[in-house]
Amino acid sequence: MKYETDLPVMLPLERHQSEPFLGLKSKHILTVALIAIIGPCVAFAQAPSGQESPLAVLVNWAPLLLKGFIFNLIISISAMAFGTAIGAILGLGQISLIAATRHSSWFVTQFFRNAPWLVLLFFAMFLLPFEINILGFKIPFPDWLKAILGLSLPVMANVSEIVRGAVRSLPSGQWEAAESLAYTRMQTLWLIILPQCVKRMLPPWMNLYSILTMATVLASIVGVSEVMTLTGQALASEGGRPELLAPFYGFVLLLFFIYCYPIARFTVWLEKKYAVIN
């Protein structure tokens, strides 16, 4: 049955279009493709004859750059793991009943949350020794390890806030019900509160991971040989040809986009899913 009507409210609801692949429509893919194609083309046009084309140069260097990028991912995953572990403890400290624990956890969280990541990275780089002497054994403390520690500081502070926020967001009735059933505070936290918080913490946590991954390039400033450092070195060894800049850095951009974008989409999807349940 069809109605003839001008009233928008009377019109049938527009069917939800099925979500395109990763939320990308053809025009988006086109734009990305154009960036990927035009960059090298412009570069090619700028290239003086007689030299290898920029694309060919990039292909030569790509395996090394990819290795560098994988190193970025290793830094990001390690810093996330370390930061999450310490941050979770700090977050629980923030809801402790012991005032001293609560206040000091709060202060540490605020201190590292309101500091620029780069400064924290420098802080870790130059404050930590290059090797540790334990019982006569010299354990080297390489730059990349310092970078992981440096980057895990802001992660720790942000995770701490995520944990605190999630615990706070639960209705107080959950605590009261648990109390009235004679659960201890620890039991309440582990059996009732935290399991419910995991869902709430996942989207912001993944968001944080995405930001961290993109921030790993900061490690190049302190000399860790991750993808940005390697790109710079590759460009230098090609004699600093200006037409190579766009394809090389474009390639790095693309790597990060391909890695981080699906995470962002997944986060959105999770948020939608949990929004319906709660």
Binding site: P171, G173, E176, A177, E179, S180, L181, A182, Q187, Q196
Partner: protein
């Protein structure tokens, strides 16, 4: 002095409670014997909920005495966990644990808190779910149940701890009218089984039917109390009369 069933199970004497400047309870005294069902009624903000929340130490009091089976609650050294094993509570907002099924909600506390054997607890829990007439809903999550069903699970959850007394804090106030009846019926079943119940309620007809004793509170004091017949037919205090005339 040890407590016997001849003494009141719950005994409040001159209880004072304030939240900062706001005085909520101004000297409340009442006694509840084992097996009694008492209803506390009164206008909103008269301190009814606070009153029963003090009994299981969810709220502390500033002055006075609360004895539960002879044990002083208003004592910093009181073992709150032991107290709460004896005193169950059902809330207005049900407060079921949404990440657990109905059966798990009922089973969790006996297993984790009382450390009872899991198999026996499950047997008891299934029987309790049957008792609150929710057979078949064992594996449903709270989000899949109606308000009335959730509240009955909450009652079963409280019963699973085998408390000596249960506090009901306006347990039907958040329910749809059509599900109020099923929850009241469940409470009535409990009362008939001899469970000691302290209810804060706005359901006058229900209070009249099941209560052994009715307390009317206003502005933090008990204005009047008595058995239901006397209370509803022969209210003496003008405040009680006014309240009853508004709702009956």
């Amino acid at each position: 002095m040890s407590w016997t069933t001849a003494d009141p199970m719950v005994s409040l004497k001159d209880v004072h409670k304030s939240f900062g400047e706001l005085k909520v309870l101004n000297g409340v005294s009442l006694d509840v014997m084992k097996g009694d069902v008492i209803c506390i009624i009164g206008p909103s903000g008269s301190g009814k909920s606070t009153l029963i929340r003090c009994i299981n130490a969810l709220n502390d009091i500033q002055q006075g005495s609360i004895l539960v089976e002879g044990q002083e609650v208003n004592d910093p050294k009181v073992d709150k966990l032991e107290l709460r094993k004896k005193v169950g509570m059902v809330f207005q907002q049900y407060n079921l644990f949404p990440h657990k099924t109905a059966l798990q909600n009922v089973m969790m506390a006996p297993i984790r808190v009382l450390k009872h054997d899991k198999i026996k607890v499950e047997e008891v829990a299934r029987a309790l779910i049957k008792k609150v007439r929710l057979e078949g809903k064992e594996n449903a999550y709270p989000g899949e149940l109606s308000g009335g069903q959730q509240q009955r699970v909450a009652i079963a959850r409280s019963l699973a701890m085998q408390p000596d007394v249960i506090l009901f804090d306006e347990v039907t106030a958040a329910l749809d009218p059509e599900t109020v009846g099923e929850v009241l019926q469940t409470i009535k079943d409990l009362a008939e089984d001899g469970m000691t119940c302290i209810l804060v309620t706005h359901e006058m007809a229900f209070a009249r039917e099941v209560a052994d004793h009715i307390y009317f509170t206003d502005r933090g004091v008990i204005v009047e109390h008595g058995p239901p017949e006397t209370f509803f037919q022969n209210a003496q205090d003008p405040r009680t009369k006014e309240f009853l005339s508004q709702i009956l």
